[in-house]
Symmetry: C2
Subunit: 356 residues, 2 copies
């Protein structure tokens, strides 16, 4: 019998909640660390430490309660993980967190291991940026904050005719300028890798966004086999080069001229993998927990086509129509108020028809 | 948005655990009431009341923490439920508990509504029992305790040649004698019914026992359509006659001469429905929680054939072979020690092959 471990999860959101639910299937207990009381993840665990991310005493207490630690979102201070690492093993290693928290280190790492991205440059001054745009033969680009951006936050479209200092006045910290990519599709691959270097992947998934937030995920994605193979190869190469123990997500663009470009690394489970709870033998959350807990990862083994629909903000009011629909799997995250843009839940339609 | 309710679950075993996990999918919180600390169900909930079933003060405190109450096993004192009913609604109603806790009231109820069982008689004395056996043209019968039997406990095979008083010396309370049925198969149907009288059913499932404990459940069961229809009809009739709000299980025998006989009612989710977590859009646990929480039940919508294998006692040591098997869904219940006969977990094989 695999020794029973208690897993510490840093972060209390829905990804932590669904990871804790997956751990429970495997008979494992979780302890949540979150600054927020009554968090979605805390609701499904019998122990939570509620304290700020920089509270070293509470972090050490949390570490003493668990055997191994993971995190459920990327915007956790690396210092938090450094404190925890002194007490207990943390997976994925903070090298992944470090790389994925900064767009420049992320894209440098990807490019260095031969994974293409859209062209990019660090924003230094207007003159240099305009020179780059000329080199790219483009009038415009996307400017993003290097750190702490998500769901379209912390980015603008910049046109050469604008004064740079005015355009970026609401963007803080280091900035990166990215080539505007003429893409036909957005896709993602989720890869888990265990202590024994076994690797499994989900996808690629076809992702449809609305207002920069994931709206729908379709599996299997209708891509040509060579594109699908290439996408998986990229994510698995990334996992290997990082010597990953845990799970990561690679978001990609498919350009209209048929090239795959990496967009972002998420050092964690991903919204585009939620379908795997209902349509696979082993979900992304379970493989995450397995890898972290020192258990072998398992083949996802998808059993049917699926479509995942996010419930954002007031979408939650449409829930009744799905509750009795055959093949609809309803997931709600235990959040009390439906703020605009807030992820409240999702529906996975199994064997979806056009009406879903 | 359906108003969010907190559900109280009386009992802390694996059925409560899996019900709480199903509630969590729907964004609902559970509070567990159990005499045992660190119970399987408590591990996945942020609140548990640990107290004996006859502690009225604790029961009232528990009721004050929740909106609605259910129970996860049938051997809860009816008095416990009576105390709770004064505070908050309890589903299924205690009439079901009452009927199913006593084999005589159970069989009488079934027979009264036209659902056949094996012939039975209350055990009074040796003379009367022998007269009944003569009427049945049989040398032997099964004698069972009327109350608190499970997994083959509290029953013996009795032969006319034995002295009755000696044969039954370890059986306590009222006893029932049942005809020995020449059955080819054991099967079950699980039925959920909501406040709006909508009804859904799982099965029939084919169940294979070892040492009186469920060993395997196979779906879809290889029965002729008319047998399957009849089985479902019986379970749904039972639910309707009880005016059920909640979920129940009807265990049946299929005799070698093609008759369906009801064996037992379980007023709860059932081991033979565990496959529904992985192979259905909506599991038995979710439909139980929905009905109890005042939400509509949903079509189970099975997506593939499955085979469920119980892990009893030391079977848990075989877990490694299943962890990486494609299509195997591993479920462990968070129990620390593997006593003989103790249900430690189960595996659901999706699209099973003959090797599973």
């Amino acid at each position: 019998m695999t020794p029973k471990k208690t897993i510490g999860i840093v972060g209390g959101g829905q990804l932590g909640r669904m990871s804790a639910l997956a751990a429970a299937r495997l008979g494992l207990n979780c302890v949540i660390y979150t600054p927020e009381s009554g968090s979605p993840a805390s609701q499904v665990c019998d122990q939570t430490v509620v304290a700020p991310y920089d509270d070293a005493v509470s972090l050490k207490r949390f570490a003493s309660m668990v055997d191994v630690i993971t995190y459920e979102f990327e915007n956790i201070p690396v210092e938090t993980i450094e404190i925890l690492k002194q007490e207990k093993p943390v997976y994925p290693d903070s090298n992944l967190l470090d790389i994925s928290q900064d767009r420049i280190s992320e894209k440098s790492f990807l490019n260095d291991i031969g994974i293409p991205t859209a062209r990019w440059v660090k924003v230094e001054d207007e003159e240099k940026l305009h020179a780059t745009l000329e080199e790219w033969e483009s009038e415009a680009c996307i400017i993003k904050t290097c750190r702490f951006g998500y769901d379209g936050k912390g980015q603008i479209k910049y046109n050469k005719s604008q004064k740079l200092s005015v355009a970026i006045e609401n963007l803080h910290g280091d900035l990166i300028a990215e080539e505007i990519v003429d893409f036909s599709d957005e896709l993602s691959v989720i890869t888990a890798r265990d202590y024994g270097k076994n690797i499994v992947s989900y996808g690629p998934m076809l992702n449809i966004h609305k207002n920069h937030i994931l709206h729908k995920t379709i599996t299997p994605a209708p891509f040509a086999q060579d594109i699908a193979d290439q996408a998986i190869e990229m994510a698995e190469k990334l996992a290997e080069k990082l010597d990953l123990t845990g799970l990561l997500t690679l978001e990609l663009f498919l350009t209209r001229d048929g090239r795959l470009l990496a967009n972002e690394i998420a050092p964690r489970t991903h919204n585009s993998g939620h379908w795997s709870i209902d349509a696979c033998a082993v979900s992304q959350f379970e493989n995450h927990i397995r890898a972290v807990a020192g258990q072998p990862v398992a083949p996802p083994a998808p059993i049917c086509p699926s479509e995942m629909l996010n419930l954002i903000g007031d979408d939650i009011n449409t829930i009744d129509r799905y509750l009795t629909q055959s093949g609809a799997c309803v997931h709600l995250y235990g959040k009390d108020s439906a703020k605009p843009g807030r992820k409240m839940g999702h529906i996975t339609f199994l064997n979806p028809t056009n009406e879903d």
